[in-house]
Symmetry: C2
Subunit: 387 residues, 2 copies
C-alpha cells in the first residue's frame, strides 16, 4: 500500500526529495537479497532453528523489505532470534493437521515460527482449491508471520485468489472505547491479472501502523487527526499520548468518519483467526514485544480457484486494474495506484539498484545481534549509496 515514509517513493512523479530523505542520504547501505537471506538464516540457525524453518522465515522477511515494508523485514529479525533463543517459540517440530474436509482444515502450529505455519497452511489451502475450488485453512498455536501478503501471494503462482489474516497483540482501541482490545489484524487479498500483473491488498485494519506513530514521536512531529487516541479514548494528535496509555484507532478514524467500520473489520479478522482456530484472541493475546508467554496466534489462509467460476477471470482483472490506473488523477503528478502498485515500484527500484537499501543503523544493529549469537559472517557495510 502507499507509504508516507518509504524512501523509495509513493508513485508521485516530479516530486523532489523530501527533507527527511535528504538527511538520510549517504546513510543507506545496498545489500543483495541473497546476502540478507543467508544472513538471517545464519543468525536463526545459530540459536538452534532448523535450517528449513530459518529459510522460510528469511524468505518472508526479505520479501517484506523488497516490497518496502521495512517494519516487517530484517528490522524484526532480533525479535525472532530472541523468541527462539528464549524457547518461547518452538525450534523443532512441524505443524500438525488436526481436522480436515475437502475444503477446510484446522492446523495446530505447534508454536513454530509463523512462516513455517503460514507456508504449511497456505499450501494446504491451495491444494484444496485445486480440488474443490476453495480452501479455507485456519491455524492456532502460531507466531508472528511477517507480511500477510506473502501468503496470499503464494496463490498467484497457481493463478488463484489468495487471502491471509492474522490476529496480533492488542494495539487498537475500539470506537467509543479506551483500552486496546484488538490487534492491527491485517487483511491480505491477492488476485492474478494477465501477464503476471496482480492486485495485492495487504493492509492493517488500524488507520496506520504503530511504526508511523513512533516515527512522528522520534521527530517530535504531531500526527494527523484520525490515527490514534489518548488513554481516555479521545482522538489525539500527540504521538506520545497515543504511545503511552492510548492506542491506534481503527481505519476510518473517529465515529463520525466511520471508524466503527474499521473496528468491525478488525473484529472480522479476529473471528476468522482466534475465534475459528481456538487460539488466543482480543486482549488475551500477549502484549506487543512482551514475550512472557507463548503467542498462540490464530491465522487464516484461503485460496479460491477462478476456474470454478466465470471464464476469462484474468482478462477482467487486468481491465479492472487499468480502469483505475488510467483514470485522470486529481494531481497529474500523482497517478492513481491500485493495491500492490507501490510495492511493485519499490521492487523495481531495488532490482535496478541491484539490492535492497537498508539504513546503516539497521545494518550495524543487526551485525551486533549476529555477533551476540556467534555469527561471524556479517552483513556488508561498505556499499553505501545515495538514493
Amino acid at each position: 500500500m502507499y507509504r508516507t515514509f518509504c524512501h523509495v517513493g509513493n508513485g508521485c512523479r516530479a516530486r523532489r526529495t523530501p527533507p527527511a530523505a535528504r538527511i538520510w542520504t549517504q546513510l543507506w547501505c545496498l545489500i543483495r537479497k541473497e546476502e540478507v537471506q543467508s544472513f538471517i538464516e545464519r543468525c536463526m540457525t545459530a540459536v538452534g532453528t532448523k535450517q528449513h524453518h530459518a529459510c522460510s522465515l528469511a524468505k518472508v522477511l526479505v520479501e517484506g523489505d523488497h516490497r518496502g515494508h521495512y517494519s516487517h523485514g530484517l528490522n524484526r529479525m532480533d525479535m525472532y532470534v530472541k523468541d527462539i533463543k528464549s524457547g518461547i517459540c518452538a525450534k523443532d517440530g512441524e505443524p500438525v493437521l488436526e481436522k480436515e474436509s475437502a475444503a477446510t482444515a484446522l492446523v495446530d502450529g505447534r508454536n513454530l515460527l509463523g512462516p513455517v505455519v503460514g507456508n504449511f497452511c497456505m499450501n494446504l489451502a491451495i491444494q484444496k482449491a485445486k480440488e474443490v475450488g476453495v480452501g479455507w485453512v485456519v491455524a492456532r498455536g502460531s507466531n508472528h508471520y511477517g507480511i500477510a501478503g506473502y501468503y496470499a501471494m503464494q496463490a498467484l503462482k497457481e493463478n488463484m485468489i489468495g487471502m491471509s489474516f492474522t490476529n496480533t497483540s492488542p494495539l487498537v482501541v475500539p470506537t467509543r472505547g479506551k483500552a486496546c482490545t484488538l490487534g492491527t489484524n491485517p487483511i491480505s487479498v491477492a488476485a492474478p491479472a494477465k501477464d503476471g500483473d496482480s492486485f495485492v491488498l495487504d493492509m492493517a485494519t488500524s488507520a496506520v501502523a504503530l511504526g508511523k506513530v513512533e516515527l512522528h514521536d522520534r521527530r517530535n512531529d504531531p500526527i494527523p487527526e484520525g490515527w490514534g487516541c489518548d488513554a481516555d479514548g479521545k482522538m489525539s494528535t500527540d504521538p506520545k499520548k497515543v504511545l503511552n496509555g492510548g492506542g491506534l484507532v481503527p481505519i476510518g478514524g473517529s465515529e463520525a468518519t466511520g471508524g466503527y467500520k474499521g473496528f468491525g473489520l478488525g473484529m472480522m479478522v479476529e473471528v476468522f483467526c482466534g475465534i475459528l482456530a481456538g487460539a488466543h484472541y482480543s486482549n488475551n493475546v500477549r502484549t506487543w514485544k512482551v514475550t512472557d508467554r507463548v503467542a498462540d496466534l490464530g491465522q487464516c489462509f484461503v485460496a479460491i480457484n477462478p476456474e470454478n467460476f466465470a471464464p476469462e477471470f484474468n482478462k477482467r482483472m487486468s481491465d479492472l486494474l487499468s480502469i483505475q490506473r488510467e483514470m485522470d488523477a486529481a494531481d497529474p503528478d500523482c497517478p492513481v495506484l491500485t493495491a500492490g502498485d507501490p510495492e511493485r515500484m519499490n521492487m523495481k527500484k531495488c532490482d535496478d539498484l541491484g539490492g535492497i537499501p537498508y539504513h546503516i543503523n539497521v545494518v550495524n544493529h543487526m551485525n551486533e545481534e549476529a555477533k551476540k549469537v556467534g555469527v561471524s559472517e556479517l552483513l556488508p557495510v561498505d556499499k553505501l549509496i545515495s538514493i
Copy 2:
C-alpha cells in the same frame, strides 16, 4: 452499524432528542411489519412479479427497515416496481446453476430481483458448508438485493458464519482519482455467538452512504471532512459539490488517513463479485438510478461451518463480544457497541412500539405509487406516534 441520523438512536444513554428529531416528532406513522410486508407484495404482484419473488423482496426490505436501514427498505420500493414495470428486470423465471463443485457454484441470476438471486445463492452456500465446511457461491445477472446483511444472517440460523458482497453503481472516487469507478460495494459478515447473540457487520466500503450526504444537502449543512470529494478529486465539505460531479470517498477518507485501504476493500468486493462472476463491474455498472439497461450485478455469498474448526466457537464469540461491550467507554453515556448492536436496539424499539415507525411523507409517497399501479389496499396513515 452506527447511524448518525437514525431517529431511534445510536446507543447513547441520557442523550436528549436532537434538534432534527424534535422537528420530526408527530410526523411518524407506526405500521406493523406484516402490513408493510403484504403492501410491498401487493404492489410488486400488481406489476406482474411472481408471488414468491414479491414475497422474497418484501422480506428483505422489511428487514432493512426493522434494523433501521431505511435507505434499503420500503423507501426503495418504487425503484423495484419501476424495474419490473419497465421490463428492465425479469418478472419470471428462476436462477440457474451454471457450474458447481462440492464447495463452489456459479449462478446465472437471469436478471431476476436481487433477493430472489440472493436467497438462491445463500441457500446453496449453506448446503455446501454443511457438507464440506465452506460454500463459496457467486452470481452474475443479478439486481439490487437490499441490505447485504440479510443474506449473511441466513447462515446464523444454521449456526454458521455467513458473508455477502455485491457490486453497485459507481459512486465512489478512488484515492488520487477524480471519477467514480467503484460502487459503495458492501461487505457483510455475520457470526453466531451463544443464546442467539451474534456479530453482524454490514458496511459499505465508502466512508458513508450517499443518503447521508443528500440529507446534509437538503438541510444546507456542510458535511464532515473525509466523506466526499468534488469533481476535481479534492476533499470537500460541500455536499452539493460531492453530489454534482464529485463523489463519495472510500472508508479512511484522504490518502493521509488511509483512504487507499477503503479503496482496496472496494476493489476486493469487485474481485469477488463482478470479476469472479463475469458480471458488469467498476464503471461498466449502470449509473445509479438510471435504468436504461439491465444491471447485471455481480454478487458473492459465503457460508463457513465452525464445526469444521475448533470446538466451542459460540462460546469464544460471546466472550469476544463481551470484551468489547463491557470495556470502559470514553464517554460513559455512549457504551461500546459491536457490529449489529445498533440494529438489535432498533429492532427492540420497534418491537416494543408494536411496529416500524415510518415518516408520514414516505407512507404518503408509497400510497401514491400503489394507486398508480392499481393497488387499492394502502398502508395505514392514521397511527401517528411521537418518538
